[in-house]
């Protein structure tokens, strides 16, 4: 049984249909990437999984739990960590407070401290700035904070929405290294990316979304070699 399964999920915003029956699966321990142009429905897919929008049809399963009509705060507790597009950290709260909020449902202080230390070992830069308001961090640090905040819940699956957006190539590289390390440590990742080359580099499998539908899927290597993908997303001649 896959860890995460979407079965013919539809999402509507008013009259506009953003997802037209998306089905996909993520197995335990995989990195799966979702490719597609702007407006293809990548963000909507993630928002549907974490309950921020309600699917109008279809089912979303986390292992054997039906997430379809759960509230966002319940879905988090089942183990879905969401790193939203544009980072969206709490700008006026300190790094530490941001992280603490990430594990809002954990009441055990020792456990909180332990998880925070884990995040700080992944991102030593955050430890240096633990008292600083999140809004004063650089873009890369904010992305680290957003990822760290989602990791505080020790999610079974991590949903990442465009982690490379607006970052310098060096930073993108280091973020992706951390993602690979997390994956080796056992975290399953569903990655939405515009930077298809980087995404296919670290992913095991991938799906290609076009106007709300999956048009192509396969192993990362197959996708990277697929002429249609190369033409549309890898910019190869």
């Amino acid at each position: 049984m896959p860890l995460l399964a979407l079965q013919r999920v539809h999402v509507h915003y008013g009259l506009i249909e953003a997802l037209k029956g998306v089905s996909l699966t993520v197995e335990q321990g995989e990195i799966v990437t979702l490719l597609g142009a702007n407006g293809a429905g990548k963000t909507s897919t993630l928002r549907a999984i974490s309950g921020l929008v309600r699917p109008s049809a279809g089912r979303i399963l986390l292992h054997d739990i039906d997430l379809t009509h759960r509230k966002p705060h319940e879905i988090v507790q089942f183990g879905v960590g969401h790193v939203p597009e544009g980072r969206r950290i709490f700008p006026r709260l300190s790094v530490e407070e941001n992280l603490r909020l990430g594990a809002f449902t954990i009441r055990d202080r020792a456990e909180l401290a332990r998880r925070q230390e884990y995040v700080f070992t992944l991102f030593p830069r955050l430890a240096e700035r633990r008292k600083q308001p999140g809004g004063t961090l650089s873009g890369g640090e904010q992305q680290m904070l957003a990822i760290g905040r989602a990791l505080m819940m020790q999610p079974r699956i991590l949903l990442l929405d465009e982690p490379s957006m607006g970052l310098a190539p060096v930073l993108v590289e280091s973020i992706f290294e951390v993602l690979q390390r997390l994956n080796r440590d056992g975290t399953t990742i569903l990655l939405v990316e515009q930077n298809a080359r980087m995404a296919l580099d670290i992913a095991h499998r991938g799906y290609v979304l076009e106007t709300g539908q999956i048009v192509l899927s396969g192993s990362a290597r197959d996708l990277a070699n697929d002429p249609r993908v190369q033409a549309a997303y890898l910019g190869a001649a």
């Binding site: 705060h73 709260l93 407070e97 449902t105």
Partner: protein, 557 residues
């Protein structure tokens, strides 16, 4: 270049002049003509006019580096403003505008010309005062830091003491009062002494701060000792207010207390959770009316309860009112939430005013004969005695606010304030967090209302107008959203000071507008911004910790 500079200076002067016209014609300036601050000559009106001249000169001069430029351009600006004063005086003397502008009296013309009227003598006097104001401003701003600031602060302090003559006079020892104060305002000698003392104090404070003396002195005393002692002293001062303050001041203190309670309540909703509630008066009204209906023999089933039985019921009733308001507006944010809650405030006011509910709530006449509390055989009756009750309530609300701020619920509120979507994705239940903000916040307002009803002894719908909500929001903005000391400062500034200065009452909204605009421009985070303050303290502690082991290490080496 020079043409440009002249044009700018004159322009600022003219704008200041127009501001003076406005303040004069709405009646603010003539209203204060009888209020003497220092001696027989310096009235509040004159102080305001001179302040305008000084502001014009300052605004013009501050762009230039040295006194040689600041003084002439500042003088030119003040001169243009002074000419505007005289122009209005001239118009007022020769044209009768009273049909349209109620305050356009010959008396105003005398005030605008500093007592001379629109004659050549008056013109000379206005221009002279303008030039002197410009000269002084330029000279002051050219003084090395912090002397200009010290002198301005001391001058303002002197004027404030003059303004508060009727309040402070009876409190001070008789000898001091008769020396400091004349028949109205400060005596000349008193003003001089006050000014010098204030200047010395400000200068001392500045030099101590510059040398880091306060910080070092504070560090010498361990904070575990210092904090409780400061708190105990503060508490003692607060608790002693009714013994020295007299009836009038105690009454003012009580009203400040009601607003502190409401401010703390709205602070949970607006400051912590970021939900703009413009109908907060509804909770004040629910608390007051619950107290009234339950304890007054006049309305309803003609049963009466004891104050102490009715008080918790009133608080619980407002909690339900909070939930009632909170439920339908859960999905609303920002402007929409503000409009919806505004409506709720009005609904409550209209309900208590209605003929339909008159048998139960008294309609426009309201409810009288509301119970006063007894503690054993002590009947709490006067504003002085009520003060203690209000003080205890405020302390309780304060304590609760601190505990909530540092709790999980408080963190959930902060997260919702910052980003509601992400807060949800962090596992925060939006519904319970928002509803608890509304309910707990409302309960403080209900407590305030219940005490208010009991102190005043009657409730009428007119006491629960929109202005109360606006006051509470304004005091939060003034003090700093989310800041607890800010609530205190805001309530003192927006409720306490206007109560003390009765002439202000009529111009309250005008002054609110000016104060809020000034706040947005110069202190957008409020007078007592909470988070920055807290951060600084934390960092100071952290640094102390980091220094300590280093010192130990070097000591060993």
């Amino acid at each position: 270049m020079i043409v440009h500079t002249v044009r700018r200076a004159v322009f600022i002067g003219l704008v200041t002049g127009i501001a003076a016209w406005h303040l004069s014609l709405v009646g603010l300036i003539p209203a204060f003509a009888q209020r003497r601050l220092v001696g027989d000559t310096v009235t509040f009106s004159y102080a305001l006019l001179v302040t305008l001249l000084v502001l014009a000169a300052y605004a013009t001069g501050r762009r230039y580096p040295g006194a040689t430029q600041r003084i002439p351009w500042g003088m030119l600006s003040a001169l243009s403003a002074g000419l505007m004063f005289f122009l209005l005086a001239l118009v007022l003397t020769h044209l009768n505008l009273r049909q349209i502008l109620l305050n356009a009296t010959p008396e105003l013309a005398r005030v605008l010309t500093f007592g001379s009227g629109a004659t050549i003598v008056g013109l000379v006097r206005v221009l002279l005062i303008s030039l002197l104001s410009g000269l002084f401003t330029g000279a002051l701003s050219a003084l090395p830091y912090p002397w200009g600031r010290v002198i301005v602060s001391a001058a303002l302090m002197t004027l404030l003491l003059g303004l508060l003559r009727d309040v402070l006079g009876p409190l001070l020892p008789r000898g001091v009062t008769s020396f400091l104060y004349g028949p109205a305002g400060l005596s000349l000698a008193g003003a001089l002494v006050v000014f010098l003392l204030a200047a010395a104090l400000f200068a001392l404070r500045w030099s101590r701060r510059a040398n880091g003396v306060t910080a070092r002195a504070a560090a010498a005393v361990p904070s575990t000792f210092r904090q409780p002692v400061t708190r105990a002293v503060l508490l003692l001062i607060l608790a002693s207010v009714p013994f020295w303050a007299g009836l009038f001041l105690s009454n003012v203190a009580d009203f400040v207390g009601f607003y502190i309670l409401m401010g703390l309540g709205l602070n949970l909703v607006l400051g912590f959770a970021g939900l703009l509630d413009l109908g907060y008066v509804a909770f004040f009204a629910v608390g007051a009316y619950t107290m009234a209906v339950l304890t007054s023999p006049e309305v309803g089933q003609r049963f009466t309860l004891d104050f102490w039985v009715a008080l918790p019921i009133a608080v619980v009733a407002t909690v339900f009112a909070g939930l009632l308001v909170g439920l339908p507006v859960l999905r609303m944010r920002g402007d929409y939430l503000a409009i919806a809650t505004l409506g709720f405030g009005e609904i409550v006011r209209l309900l208590v005013l209605s003929d339909w509910l008159k048998p139960y709530l008294g309609g426009a006449q309201g409810v009288t004969r509301i119970a006063r509390p007894n503690i054993a055989s002590w009947r709490i009756d006067s504003p002085q005695e009520f003060y203690f009750l209000i003080l205890v309530s405020c302390l309780f609300a304060w304590f609760l606010s601190i505990r909530l701020r540092d709790s999980r619920l408080g963190r959930a509120w902060f997260a919702i304030r910052e980003d509601e979507h992400v807060a949800q994705a962090m596992g925060i239940n939006r519904v319970t967090a928002k509803l608890s903000a509304f309910a707990i916040g409302a309960s403080f307002g209900g407590l305030s209302g219940a005490l208010f009803a009991s102190l005043v002894g009657s409730v009428v719908p007119a006491s629960f107008s929109l202005l109360v909500s606006i006051n509470v929001v304004a005091l939060l903005v003034l003090g700093g959203m989310g800041s607890l000391p800010g609530v205190l400062v805001g309530a003192l500034a927006l409720v306490g000071i206007p109560e003390l200065l009765r002439e202000f009452q009529e111009y309250r909204l005008l002054l609110y507008g000016m104060v809020l605009i000034a706040m947005m421009l110069f202190r957008p985070a409020g007078l007592f911004p909470e988070r920055i303050h807290r951060r600084e303290l934390e960092e100071a502690v952290e640094e102390a910790r980091e220094i300590a082991p280093a010192e130990i290490a070097t000591g060993r080496g």
